[in-house]
């Protein structure tokens, strides 16, 4: 069963110049992309900066409207985790407020009665346990945390509203390798526990390989190759995919094995 289905989506941004904002060209950010994400899988989207990965994520979430094409999103309560936890958390809100906001909004929309502060508090404590942050974090502000801890807060906030689908947009790119591994393992645990579907966007082929069941490689707004992770990494068909893979640096060069 598919949870996201995109058919021929296009998004072109105009390039405007001068004080009259004249259109001098277009950027084909997403150029006729079709993809399907199945329930429960992690779909990896990999490519270099500017290839349109993030735009696709935003289009699926409805943050950006595509120029043409069709998107069917059958997931309830989709969520997103952004790259930079320094920008994605409001610096003037305490962790408690950051985490509660989603619940409050959800209650308001559904008119449910989970609106009691006590119930919310219990739920927040549970989530903090899950992302392995101390209970005392609730009264702190984002600046009191390290990058890895902030990303845990962002993950907690995303998971709290019980989403069926999360767009992870470069969630570990701003973190150190040891922290990267911790966060990726956390994301995997959460996925197993709540059976969440991920769209995992990254420029780092190693990270995408670690996380994904299927991978799509993007270049200049187009998906140029798509398939199961093991096939893409062991037997790439397109020359651009081969080039990307050959650029991965291994700490054990072949000569020494």
């Amino acid at each position: 069963m598919s949870i996201v289905e995109c058919k021929n989506i296009k998004k072109h941004f105009p390039i405007l110049r001068g004080y009259r904002r004249e259109k001098v060209g277009i950027v084909k950010a997403v150029d006729d992309v079709s993809l399907e994400i199945k329930k429960g899988e992690t779909f990896g989207l990999v490519g270099e900066s500017g290839c349109g990965k993030t735009t696709i994520g935003k289009i699926i979430l409805g943050i950006i409207k595509p120029d043409s094409g069709r998107i069917i999103l059958s997931a309830q309560r989709p969520q997103v985790i952004f790259q930079d936890p320094y920008n994605s958390l409001d610096p003037k809100m305490r962790v408690r407020e950051i985490l509660a906001e989603g619940l409050v909004l959800q209650d308001r929309r559904q008119g449910t009665s989970l609106g009691f502060a006590r119930d919310r508090r219990d739920k927040i404590q549970e989530i903090l346990d899950l992302v392995k942050l101390p209970k005392s974090s609730v009264t702190k502000y984002p600046h009191e945390f390290s990058g890895g801890e902030r990303q845990r807060i962002a993950i907690g906030r995303a998971v709290l509203t019980e989403p069926e689908f999360i767009v992870c947009d470069e969630p570990v790119s701003s973190l150190d390798v040891t922290i990267q591994l911790e966060i990726l393992k956390l994301l995997k645990n959460i996925q197993k526990r709540f059976s969440i579907t991920y769209l995992f966007i990254s420029h780092d082929l190693r990270v995408v390989k670690f996380m994904s069941d299927r991978v799509a490689v993007m270049k200049e707004g187009k998906i140029i190759e798509e398939g199961p992770t093991s096939r893409i990494y062991s037997n790439p068909e397109r020359s651009y995919t081969k080039l990307l893979l050959s650029s991965i640096l291994n700490i054990y060069p072949k000569a020494y094995l």
Binding site: E48, S49, G147, D176, V177, T178, I179, Q180, L181, L184, H203, D204, L205, R206, V207, K209, F210, L243, L244, S246, S247, I248, L249, N250, I251, Y252, P253, Y256
Partner: protein
């Protein structure tokens, strides 16, 4: 004995904020002529500050309070500012991580290159221009004659980094410090820049301090490696000794994270 180009002994750089932060806390290493020495560690471990301390570029509230930096027989820490200025950018130069902030946005590439040449060499502008063009060509910028008249914002990240490298090389330094030179770039561009650096290291017989958080890059580029953690080099030695059998638990942890992802 005299084959060492740089000896750093017990270098300490502290920052005096409300507490004392020991950013570099007793770092010692030495670099032989023609060697590529890698400094690897996570963010905040003191890699960049070690490099900046070598060039004495630490600003208050930071201060290098102890140690010796012996470059070509003289202690840089005891040198006056004028003699240091002669060394920086000519005998020791540095390439920074982010090429978009390392270049001045209001001057053309050519202007900035010529400025670097004239600061250290007694040549006229025509010669300086010739030399600048020669080095832009050496770092394989396709249209180096056009790029010479371009402003930084007109260039891609990869090209800007090539310009920074050309600028660092134009005065034929003996020691080059590369501070995460490919971190801001895409992987395919990173591969190109690393190839370029390989070529230049061989051609110019440079000694290099290569700073990176990426063990993959360090393994590809360096001969000797120092692993930094909390302001200290906790382990150093020949690259494959460290990769094959790390002694410190932190190094092991770091390598395992890299392995799990590759």
């Amino acid at each position: 004995m005299n084959d060492k180009i740089l000896e750093v002994k017990n270098l300490k750089t502290y920052f005096y904020t409300s507490q004392v932060i020991r950013a570099v806390d007793g770092v010692s290493f030495d670099i032989k002529k023609g060697e590529v020495f890698g400094l690897v560690g996570e963010s905040g471990s003191g890699k960049t500050l070690t490099a900046l301390s070598v060039l004495k570029l630490i600003n208050p509230p930071g201060k290098t309070i102890d140690g010796q930096i012996i470059f070509d027989g003289a202690d840089l820490l005891k040198m006056d500012e004028d003699s240091l200025r002669d060394i920086r950018g000519s005998r020791i130069s540095i390439v920074f991580q982010d090429p978009s902030t390392a270049l001045n946005p209001v001057f053309t590439i050519g202007y900035q290159m010529i400025e670097a040449v004239l600061a250290h060499q007694k040549v006229n502008r025509v010669k300086a221009k010739g030399l600048s063009l020669e080095y832009l060509n050496k770092v394989h910028i396709g249209q180096h004659k056009k790029v010479f008249y371009d402003y930084p914002h007109q260039l891609s990240g990869g090209t800007k980094q090539r310009v920074s490298i050309a600028m660092a090389l134009v005065n034929s330094p003996e020691l080059l410090i590369l501070d995460e030179p490919t971190t801001a770039l895409d992987v395919t561009i990173q591969a190109q820049i690393l190839d370029l650096l390989d070529e230049i290291i061989k051609e110019e017989h440079l000694s290099i301090i290569f700073i990176s958080h990426d063990f993959g890059i360090i393994a590809r580029m360096c001969d000797h490696v120092g692993v930094m953690y909390k302001g200290r080099i906790i382990e150093q030695g020949e690259k494959y000794d460290i990769i094959k059998n790390p002694k410190e638990s932190y190094t092991r942890n770091l390598l395992e994270s890299v392995k799990a992802l590759s």
